[in-house]
Amino acid sequence: MEHFYRNMRKKHQILMVDKQPEGGKWNFDASNRKKWKGDTLIPQEINFDTNVEEVLSDIKKAGIKTIGEINPKYFEYPISRKQSLAQLTYFCEHLLVHFGDYQDAMHTDKIYLYHSRISFAMNSKIISPREVVETVLETYRKENNTIDISQVEGFIRQILGWREYMRGMYWMLMPDYKKENFLDNKNTLPAFFWTGKTKMNCLKNAIHNSLENGYAHHIQRLMITGNFALLTQIHPDQIDAWYLGIYVDAIEWVQLPNTRGMSQFADGGKIATKPYVSSGSYISKMGNYCDACAYKKTKKFGDDACPFNTLYWNFLDEKQEKLSSNFRMKMMYSVLNKMSSEDRSKIKEKANHIIENLDAY
């Protein structure tokens, strides 16, 4: 993706100074990983007053089965070009200034943080990626005293890089891609993915956001729900169906490579270089979910141990044959292999209990 992205930057002359990347670097990823601790004032998200009661009643009359909630008096998403452009402008004027800083942050009180929420307007093609990139660049040129390049580059990478790359991968790898299950995962998604009824605070929040708004930001999808589904070794077909259904912006060309590839490593590494798995402590680095959680992020054993911790080591153990040769997994495997066999069997026992009783956690 990095090569593709650089190529796109050059080809379209975006954030380029002659042949060099503006700001001296291609990638400001390192500045894009702050935790939000209430130190900036997050503007209220832009809202629209579209009344969708008639459409909703048509859907009910037709008997279409749906999930999630809705307030039909004020529909959350832009449904016209005018509204979509207003949402884009709002992002540029109010949110871009901190977008990059907090793009991977998570917070219990802030559903949207500095995210643009323009994915529905873009994926329905009401607005184009060119318009989005150009508007962001114009704002940056005007406001370059206040908006740092790391905010802008972080955003443009998503649109010009990842979005186009994922679509290209989809068309390059379909239809076989949809059947891949490299890790041989076979388990069933717990019922709480459709109710949010779990004691794990991060999952509870990410799933409630999804049910209430048809939205979760990228890192919630990847680090919370996706991470948990992978650690519990759920069959990728089930995970695909959940992501494709629950998110308003989800269309298969974007959902499938993100879920099966980036999140679940079911393609054996065509998109991601390693499985996106983490324990509780990494979740805690990016958000405040652990603060009010029933489980302890620091504990591996015991009733109140964070299930992500147990599941993380169990996952590495279970998939060792398939993953230990992966260059980027070497460190984790050396830690695992130094663990006592007693600890390993305790982890296995606890992890099996979790996996067999997911809805009890």
Binding site: M1, I59, N123, S128, M223, Y276
Partner: protein, 166 residues
């Protein structure tokens, strides 16, 4: 020549070159269909969002003097199937050429390819004019390079990027 042009729910690009001029011979069609609402269980806001945006798009096209046929989900003439709705309109409007925009979903792409192969009238497929890249561009980009599937390339690349976690 009487043309029928299909616009799918995720192809609401009002800036597309199709709409730069009006033509009495051209009819645009949009369908709300069970085929699309039922292939997976969607979030209620997703179905509402697409239907509302489609209805708004059709209304704007009409306002700009384009001919539009719109099937609501509960219309009696709506067969709820893409190809059956198209066949119905081709017959009813004595259409001589069918045109569509390249779908972004494999399932729909296959369905429309089969449909147009079986058609007795002419057909044409056009770009949605949305993305920076065309569908095949990435495959071309990887050609001649040590590809993404090459382990050596992957591990070298892994050391340089930082899109990671711990």
């Amino acid at each position: 020549m009487k043309k029928l042009r299909l616009i799918l729910g995720d192809q609401l690009n009002s800036q597309h070159s199709w709409f730069s001029e009006t033509d009495k011979e051209v009819t645009y069609c949009l369908f709300e269909m069970r085929q699309e609402t039922d292939y997976v269980t969607h979030h209620v806001q997703k179905v509402v969002g697409y239907f509302t945006a489609m209805r708004n798009f059709a209304a704007e096209l009409k306002k700009a003097n384009h001919s539009v046929v719109y099937f609501h989900i509960n219309d009696t003439k709506n067969t709820q199937s893409l190809v059956e709705n198209l066949a119905l309109l081709i017959e009813a409007h004595a259409i001589e050429k069918f045109e569509y925009l390249s779908p972004d979903e494999y399932r729909l792409d296959e369905q429309l390819k089969t449909f147009t192969n079986d058609l007795t009238i002419d057909s044409g497929v056009f770009s949605t004019e949305h993305f920076y890249t065309e569908r095949e561009d990435l495959a071309t980009f990887f050609k001649g390079k040590k590809t993404i599937f090459d382990g050596t390339f992957l591990s070298q690349y892994a050391q340089k990027t930082s899109n990671t976690n711990g």
